[in-house]
Symmetry: C2
Subunit: 389 residues, 2 copies
């Protein structure tokens, strides 16, 4: 007999699984968006997003993927010819470079080796060398290389300069500490299909006071992503254009879940899941990427030399129903990534690791089945409540 | 930090998890049951149930739990004073005794040690000693002791006698081979919350030709469970009383899944999952119940002497979100049971075993985390398709 997948598991850094109550909220009867009912939902969502972003600013919800909010950050805060530093240490760092160039910005590219975090000293040198730099554009968690970049030390550099810090927190907001106001982040971005436990389709963006001042004079063309218009609409309990209604209904419920757990507990849980996954990878003797600054959202590792990573990834999906992420860009076919953010829980970590072990075994790798799982279990078990006396 | 359950897992022998498409089918808009639409669904369900029961007879669907169908079997096939042999090797064997006595039958109780399968030789001796015995009532899979009883050899004894073989296949139909017509089973029963991947609420029952003849003259009182009336209604594409409409809608979809996989593949999958679970329990050095005749639906084992089974079971539920079954009747607080039927798949087995390991560790037991999981993985991996060349 041949086992076929009975269920599907998403262990990818977006989309992530969607909880049942969020799915139910999205499946509620359609309501119109220009109604008191929807305004009430939107009001609650705005309030809760502020809590998750840890900001007193408006957090705008756009019907777009995260890339849309990245573009909005560039087009609203800068003008053609403005110099910006782009931290480019992966596929999403590259995206900052591409967007900035598309709008005619003068890009100072700070290339970081894939798998390493940016050195804040490098950013400081770049800012000193080019005092006219108007912005630093970076990822908090660079999903493609599974690296966590040091946002706080860089914020200390930008907040005393006339330089905006624009942070793509798409796989970081709601995963790890990223307090916008406290750290002095000027633009913070996230997306629905990550810690927010929703399908893709919503992007979130918040601007600091000085970012809003920049938006008032920025000369990049924009219309759909004109955040001034969105802010005006938000103040009236509405949106500038048709919102993605069902996703916003689900967001309302998802934010309720996140805040009921509380950010400190949520961050601590993410850290445990990340440590469990890393322990599993280490126990299996697999080479980890991003050893020095691993993202709490996703863990990257290389398939053993004899096993083709892309074929292994497809095998896990087709034979086991377990969708793990492969490498992106230059890491395609080499890297595997196990995500542990959003609605991915302890037993999804166990499932992901168990699947990788079984896949490796079927590809002829020398793997002790259960060794990685056991290492993950030890981390998880240590975080469980004590047994009753 | 303390990990709290993020998701819930049902690894119990009923209720079992319900697939998404079945849930969607049950959530379809309500339709009335006296309509061509519902008759069409019912017609399809009847046809498909015949395929799963492997019978040419009508398989009746009752709005009841499995116990209702057990009662229907007794009240429709026998008369007060009739002698019947009840194979009593667990809680559900006891139930046959109780129902038969409630209807005034003369019960020959064939007590079997809990954890052992009935010896067909014992049944033969009982039938020889009391040639007037009108029926043998037994379980195929005795869920409380995780034993698989030998139905076929017993059917060989009853089919040449004027004795009906009444089989509770509640956790066996759709799990393991139980071909009603081929083996000569006279009454076969199942329930929705087992292999049928539905919530509880439906019971299924099919009668052989000679069981129907017995039903024509049986003098036990019955009304709601009068199967003659149900059969007449079924022939007209209807039901005698109001059917559990949404469950029947879900059943239609669930049966489609079962038959699309095919019974041989389904049974083979169940066997792999059962072997994986047993291998895990053995690897952990835990004492299994039903070693000689284990059920393919559920595996029973004892908590180590120092660990209270009931408290461990509650801990797995409360601290890990994993619902495993405990012992029933005299095994309460001692036995643990991991189910592997219905919509419980390979990674639910992994999850169940991993949870038991972590729970045992928290209760101070000497357990090598990952050892049981690894043993299960070896069985599962062997059943996977080969890796691409």
């Amino acid at each position: 007999m041949t086992l076929r997948p009975l269920k599907s598991y998403l262990v990818t850094p977006g989309p992530t699984p969607v909880p049942d109550d969020v799915r139910s909220a999205m499946a509620a009867p359609a309501i119109h968006h220009r109604t008191p009912e929807f305004s009430e939902v939107l009001g609650r969502v705005r309030e809760r997003l502020r809590a998750v972003f840890e900001t007193g600013q408006e957090v705008l919800t756009l019907a777009a993927s995260g890339t849309g909010a990245m573009e909005a950050a560039v087009s609203n805060c800068f003008s053609p010819g403005d110099a910006v530093v782009c931290v480019n240490g992966g596929k999403f760092g590259e995206r900052w470079v591409e967007i900035a160039r598309a709008y005619g910005l003068d890009v100072v590219e700070l290339v970081v080796e894939w798998g390493r975090a940016v050195d804040p000293g490098e950013v400081e040198r770049a800012l000193r060398a080019r005092p006219e730099v108007r912005g630093v554009l970076m990822q908090a968690s660079e999903t493609s290389t599974t690296v966590l970049h040091p946002v706080e030390p860089i914020a200390r550099l930008t907040r005393d300069r006339d330089t905006l810090l624009v942070v793509d927190g798409i796989t970081a907001v709601g995963v790890t500490e990223l307090p916008m106001d406290r750290w002095g982040i000027d633009v913070l971005i996230s997306g629905s299909q990550k810690a927010f436990m929703l399908p893709p389709g919503l992007a979130f963006i918040a601007l600091s006071e000085r970012a809003w001042r920049a938006a008032a004079t920025a000369r990049c063309p924009r219309y759909y992503f004109d955040l001034r218009r969105e802010r005006e609409s938000a103040a009236k309990g509405s949106t500038a254009y048709t919102p993605a209604i069902s996703l916003v209904m689900g967001l309302d419920r998802a934010l309720e879940r996140m805040l009921a757990e509380g950010l400190p507990a949520l961050f601590a849980r993410q850290e445990v899941l990340a440590r469990a996954t890393r322990a599993a990878v280490e126990a299996l003797g697999l080479e980890r990427l991003a050893r020095e600054a691993p993202s709490p959202a996703v863990t990257g590792f290389f398939a053993p030399p004899a096993v083709p990573g892309g074929a292994l990834q497809r095998y896990l999906r087709d034979a086991l129903g377990v969708e793990v992420a492969g490498g992106q860009g230059r890491l395609k076919g080499k890297l595997l990534r196990l995500a542990h953010l959003g609605f991915i829980g302890p037993f999804d970590v166990v499932t992901g690791v168990a699947a990788v072990e079984m896949g490796l075994a079927r590809f002829g790798a020398d793997v002790a089945l259960g060794r990685g799982v056991g290492a993950a279990q030890r981390v998880l078990a240590d975080a469980l409540p004590p047994a009753p006396a």
